[in-house]
């Protein structure tokens, strides 16, 4: 092995199984970090939109005005409408569309708009939850891959030791260092993935809770409107 012991020579001298383990752990780590950052951007954006739209919605603005504002925004900016505003738009669009049908029952109008909102909600949830299972998988599996690499490396080190006539620490030390490096990489991939998965699941839960609450509140507003309009007729 020589007197100079560094990470690079350790990686180069590793067995091909060791190299495979290290490579797969590196890939998993990169993948989980891409997802961590991407989810962070998506969730932060959803939270911001949630806050802004809720403020706007409860400011006492006319609902049809709000819908029109959204339409112009959709035209003007390249941004797509996401989250709560999307729920509002699909529910409101369905509501007004059904309301224009002559002789339609107000319960049917409500049902239609609620269904439209549920569809939008499930779409939003899918966007939020996308890739979270990958984080969970990386979190649980990379530790085991690292452990596998370590056990393999230590096993090899002991085989080497058995083949030596004189047992000395210098014979097994590089092998064990290499083996432990696999565990280190596994932990490095797993720890952020676990943290991010827990954090993001909590965020996604709280955001979709807000969506459900909003959906109920908005339904009650629409319900009130539908029945008051019907009563006028």
């Amino acid at each position: 092995m020589g007197e100079s012991m560094n990470i690079w020579s350790m990686i180069v001298d590793a067995t091909w199984i060791g190299k495979l383990v290290m490579l797969s752990l590196l890939v998993l780590s990169v993948m989980s970090w891409v997802i961590i950052v991407q989810k962070w951007i998506i969730i932060k954006d959803a939270e911001r939109e949630l806050f802004n739209f809720e403020k706007l919605f409860w400011s006492g603005m006319d609902l049809s005005q709000l819908f029109r504002d959204g339409t112009t925004k959709l035209k003007k900016e390249e941004l797509t409408i996401i989250g709560m505003e999307n729920l509002f738009r699909s529910g409101f669009k369905e509501f007004t569309r059904l309301r224009q049908q002559p002789g339609i029952d107000s319960d049917a109008v409500m049902e239609g708009s609620q269904r439209a909102m549920r569809v939008a909600l499930s779409r939003e949830e899918r966007v939020l939850e996308k890739h979270l299972p990958i984080l969970a998988t990386v979190a649980s599996v990379s530790v085991y891959i690292g452990l596998f690499g370590t056990v393999w490396g230590i096993m090899n080190a002991f085989f080497d030791l058995a083949n030596q006539s004189q047992a000395s620490l210098a014979v097994v030390a590089p092998g064990i260092a290499e083996a432990l490096f696999a565990t280190e990489m596994g932990l490095f991939a797993a720890i952020p993935a676990v943290l991010a998965f827990n954090r993001y699941s909590a965020s996604v839960n709280s955001i979709s809770d807000s969506y459900y609450t909003f959906m109920d509140e908005f339904s009650s507003i629409l319900h009130r409107q539908a029945h008051s309009k019907r009563a006028e007729d």
Binding site: L26, V30, I36, V37, D45, K73, E78
Partner: protein
């Protein structure tokens, strides 16, 4: 609300491009730290072992040490070869000298025979030879001169032989000196090998000396170890004995010349001191 905000840039393509960039940066940074980690590089490893300062200075440059030893060995071998050549030349000269001497002796014998034949003829024809006696006398004189010349040659040869002998003696003493040096080198090698197998007993103190007799065979293998003179500390004696037994063989001794081995290494007596072994 409808003003342009920084998130818009991040949100393009569902936020994947910035995510990939950030993940790559993180891993690049990690690899950078890993490859420039002072713990993993040599400097700190050496600083980490201050207890074995002696050991590190010796082992820091094992190649140099080995080279010195190799040079030493090579020099010894060269001196040996040179001496061998000289010995061969001397033997050659001696052989030639002997051949010449034999030649001279044969010549003498032949002359003597001729002379005796001539004397026989003289006795048979004493009267007839009376007139030739003067001539014969001359011949005899000549033979005497020849004998004297031969004696002179023999004396000169004797002187030359003595000078040669002296030269050889000088060479031998020179060889003894270089032999002593070679012995020192090999003993140092043995000491080093033993030291690498030596488990220091806690009771070993500087100033202890243990004299051990080691019996070796020309392949360098240890046949037996015996404590000749105890250091007074049984644990130290035992540890040295164990170290030699564990070493089993000193493969460097294989390169040694047979005579040197026979004179100094078949039954080797080495004095061990803890401070030697610690070095």
């Amino acid at each position: 609300m409808n003003s342009f905000h920084p998130m818009a840039l991040l949100l393009k393509h569902e936020g994947y491009p910035p995510a990939v960039v950030v993940a790559t940066l993180i891993h690049g940074f990690l690899l950078f730290i890993l490859f420039h980690n002072p713990v993993m590089s040599n400097e700190l490893v050496n600083i980490d072992e201050p207890i074995y300062i002696n050991a590190t200075t010796a082992e820091q440059n094992p190649q140099r040490l080995r080279r010195i030893q190799e040079l030493e060995l090579q020099r010894t071998r060269e001196v040996e070869a040179q001496r061998q050549r000289e010995r061969d030349a001397a033997a050659q000269r001696a052989r030639e000298e002997e051949a010449r001497q034999q030649e001279v002796q044969r010549e003498t014998e032949r002359l003597a025979q001729q002379r005796s034949e001539r004397e026989l003829a003289q006795r048979q024809q004493q009267e007839a030879e009376a007139q030739r006696q003067a001539l014969e006398q001359d011949r005899l004189d000549q033979a005497r001169i020849e004998r004297e010349r031969q004696a002179q040659i023999a004396r000169e040869q004797e002187v030359a032989r003595r000078a040669e002998l002296e030269r050889q003696q000088a060479l031998a003493s020179q060889q003894a000196a270089s032999d002593a040096r070679a012995v020192d080198t090999y003993v140092a090698i043995i000491n080093r090998t033993v030291a690498s197998y030596w488990d220091i007993p806690p009771s070993a103190r500087n100033g202890m000396t243990a004299v051990l007799a080691i019996r070796l065979v020309p392949t360098g293998e240890v046949i037996s170890v015996e404590v000749l003179q105890s250091s007074g500390n049984a644990a130290f004696d035992r540890s040295v004995e164990q170290a030699i037994r564990k070493a089993e063989r000193f493969p460097e001794l294989r390169d040694m010349s047979t005579t040197l081995f026979e004179t100094s290494f078949r039954n080797l007596t080495i004095t061990f001191r803890p401070e030697d072994l610690l070095r």
